[in-house]
């Protein structure tokens, strides 16, 4: 009976995996398959043991369910009609299985529906082998192989975990939903080294190298709705360093990113307006976080460099340096109620902060050159794993709306826009 159950589970899982368009990478697919198979056996074995606590030492299963409503007025951030939308669904399930004392398998599958913010559907968020290469009382070194999550920015690893991030919509100049699937992680290898001392505090150093598959829908989201060719990420290399002084409420961090993409045009015969192109993206951040009993402050300051070689015409060149920051504060009124206020300010070209040159040179309206957002919100923890959250955003500028490279001013004809959102979140 048991073995039959396991075989059925394995067959079912294998068909689910084949349906997941995102798991194109052979490496992550293999890891994921092995992992789900092991998890299925783990669940069955555990059910037989009948533990009163649901997670055992070696096998852990967690997940989250959240649903919200969002209403955007003055942009196509969520939908083209501007109507109240229920396209604010985030579901996730993950499992972790300790194979041996040194090796662990972990994977998470998420379903996201955010309207125009990103492609609706199921994704493999991460699927990896974690090798605990070295560990003692003060040091830990881990190597992660497979599809891993970007863990370098302040909220990058929790950006699609509703209750773990600070607001329903994150600062778009860093956590741009249009780039979500590319920025959230990579297929490749990552390493983390942690050191803890009583005198100097905690140090975390991480490095990662890999690439993300880019779907047709994403290509059109990022480049232009008329792009008919295929975009590909050649590589994504990132590193970050965090330091929390001993017994301090402060933590400081920095990160660097270097990525390259190519665009393979479908050609004039393929109905493509655009040409073969190389894109390069570099991103540097500094961040700080203060966690007090009632007050919490955080902020990130960043500079990006984006270059295009081709695309609009063979030999076309663009080299923009963009800059931005956000400052966020949270106040815990009671154990359960937290208020949020945030200011975000971002320019796509630091030498053209008001976007006038952009308009003169390309005809794209000036307000596509920047993005400013004032956000207020609240979070209420109903129980230890059930919360409700609400927020309002006043946005000035269209610099963080998709498509990015060739924007759509016909639908985004307003410099100022706003949105409110309400979200219920449950996790286990």
């Amino acid at each position: 009976m048991l073995s039959k159950l396991k075989t059925n589970a394995a067959a079912e899982i294998s068909s689910i995996i084949n349906d997941l368009y995102c798991s194109r990478s052979l490496l992550s697919r293999t890891v994921l398959f092995a992992f789900l198979l092991v998890s299925a056996c783990g669940i069955v074995a555990q059910a037989e043991e009948g533990d009163s606590y649901s997670n055992s030492q070696d096998f852990q299963l967690h997940g989250f369910i959240s649903q919200g409503i969002i209403d955007v007025d003055g942009s196509d951030f969520v939908n083209d009609s501007g109507d109240l939308s229920t396209e604010l669904t985030e579901l996730g399930i993950n499992a972790s299985y300790q194979l041996t004392s040194k090796f662990r398998l972990a994977a998470q599958i998420v379903y996201l529906d955010g309207g125009n913010r990103y492609a609706e559907g199921v994704r493999v968020d991460y699927a990896l082998i974690d090798w605990s290469a070295f560990t003692n009382e003060q040091w830990q070194a881990n190597i992660y192989l497979g599809r891993f999550k970007n863990n370098h920015w302040l909220y990058s690893s929790s950006r699609d975990v509703p209750f773990a991030r600070p607001s329903i919509i994150l600062p778009q100049s860093v956590y741009f939903d249009g780039f979500r699937d590319i920025a959230v992680g990579s297929d490749g290898v990552a390493a983390k080294i942690s050191h803890s001392t009583d005198d100097y505090g905690n140090f975390d150093f991480q490095i990662s190298y890999g690439s993300s598959p880019v779907s047709k829908e994403q290509t059109q989201n990022i480049l232009s709705e008329y792009a008919q060719g295929m975009a590909e990420q050649d590589y994504d290399a990132q590193a970050s360093f965090y330091w929390q002084p001993a017994f301090s409420s402060w933590r400081f961090g920095m990160s660097i990113l270097d990525a390259e993409f190519t665009y393979d045009s479908a050609g004039i015969n393929g109905g493509d307006f655009f040409y073969d192109s190389d894109f390069a993206f570099q991103f540097y951040t500094l961040n700080a976080l203060y966690e007090g009993e009632r007050w919490e402050f955080s902020g990130e300051i960043y500079q990006q460099r984006f270059t295009i070689d081709g695309f609009y015409a063979p030999g076309f060149e663009l080299d923009n340096i963009g800059q931005g920051f956000y400052l966020q504060s949270r106040y815990k009124v009671t154990q359960k109620l937290t208020l949020l206020a945030r200011y975000e300010d971002f320019y796509i070209d630091k030498d053209d902060k008001d976007g006038k040159e952009l308009e003169q040179n390309t005809g794209i309206p000036y307000y596509f050159g920047f993005h400013k957002d004032i956000t207020i919100g609240l979070n209420y923890d109903i129980t230890s794993n059930f919360s409700v959250r609400a927020e309002y955003h006043w946005v000035n500028g269209a610099g963080r709306l998709t498509p990015v490279v060739a924007p759509n001013p016909a639908i985004n004809d307003s410099e100022d826009w706003g949105m409110w959102a309400l979200q219920l979140m449950y996790w286990f």
Partner: protein, 148 residues
């Protein structure tokens, strides 16, 4: 209002050899920065739900970390694939049972609960605590001293 607030004791599986831990070691264990005991055995960390009053007191008094900070560290590990977070159990009784059954386990209890479990184990007359007797038949948890 009762003037006497019960103390919080740190307990481990009977086979754990450490009889004392420093405050920083305890912090490292609960923030998942120290994953093994000195004999290289894996540490399994048990906690009560984040809104449980004993958990809130444990975080503030014993770890000097706010409960929301612990949640953040654990959520990051659990939902990003980076690592494993402590296992959450519903009640102090479940916690005793989990610590007794799991080699390498660590957890925390109110001293009242600890005394009750010991009384049952050494056969002192106890009321209607069948559950407790089941637990106690497996032995007594270690109580670990916390040094500054």
């Amino acid at each position: 209002m009762s003037s006497q607030v019960s103390a919080i004791e740190i307990v481990t599986h009977p086979q754990v050899t450490e009889s004392s831990l420093t405050k920083s070691q305890l912090r490292r264990i609960y923030t998942m920065r120290q994953l093994r005991w000195s004999n290289n055995r894996t540490i399994t960390v048990f906690v009560l739900p984040s809104q449980h009053i004993l958990h809130q007191r444990f975080a503030k008094e014993r770890l000097q970390i706010f409960p929301y900070q612990l949640n953040r560290i654990w959520h990051k590990l659990t939902y990003s694939g980076l690592g494993v977070a402590p296992i959450i159990v519903k009640s102090e009784q479940e916690l005793i049972q989990a610590v007794l059954e799991t080699p390498g386990a660590i957890g925390y209890l109110s001293d009242e609960m600890l005394i009750r479990q010991r009384d049952v184990f050494i056969g002192k007359e106890s009321s209607d605590m069948e559950e407790m007797q089941k637990v106690s038949s497996k032995g007594v948890v270690n109580v670990v001293k916390i040094k500054d």
